[in-house]
Amino acid sequence: MAVRVQEEPFNAGDELNTFSKTSTDVGAVVSFTGLVRDVAGGLQTMEIEHYPAMTERAIIEIVEDAKARWSLKDVLVIHRYGRLEAGDTIMMVATSSKHRADAFAAADFLMDYLKSRAPFWKKETTGNGASWVDGKDEDEDALNRW
């Protein structure tokens, strides 16, 4: 398992390739990449704040939970903080398993929990000013799927 919380950009493709080569007993790798989406008003920057003392630990807890629920070979989570622009990669999750069902379910689960349980907050600055992104009820509801 690798969990990285960092300000620097990362190359999702290179990370995927490295992650996929960790074992010859892996048949399925699922990745999720979250990108800064342009918004109405024209996104100038996205600022991601986090809670340093808690972030990594909260993510590791979520990953351990996923590993207990599904048969996984490995898990990778990278999440950036700081200032980003439209098109930038915010974060990625990758899961590997013998079979695709485990890899898909675990990646989906990890995203739902990272979204609502890892201490990150996004602030968008557009031509219309700056505002914090609201937590969505549907994100909270998504946790009930598991």
């Binding site: 979250g34 991601i48 704040e49 986090h50 809670y51 003392a53 808690m54 630990r57 909260a58 999440h79 915010i90 974060m91 995203m111 990272l114 979204k115 609502s116 349980r117 890892a118 201490p119 990150f120 907050w121 996004k122 602030k123 914090w132 992104v133 609201d134 937590g135 909270e140």
Partner: protein, 82 residues
Amino acid sequence: MVDVLYFASVRERIGLPKEQVETSAATVAELVDELRAKEERYELAFSDISALKVALDQELATFDAPLTGVREVAFFPPMTGG
């Protein structure tokens, strides 16, 4: 004495990221009541605690949780990572 941390919109409303608070509050809710009584910016920041989350020593908790032995309390809006 507990360290009290504020993040995102809560931090902006209160105007600082962290402070040390002398408190004898038994629960998070009691601590919130003490903070609200301090100044209007706190009153504003905590006007609707159903829209806020709290972590005790870096673990998510609820507002009725006891503060016994807790060294760090953090208040913030719902997370929006991912």
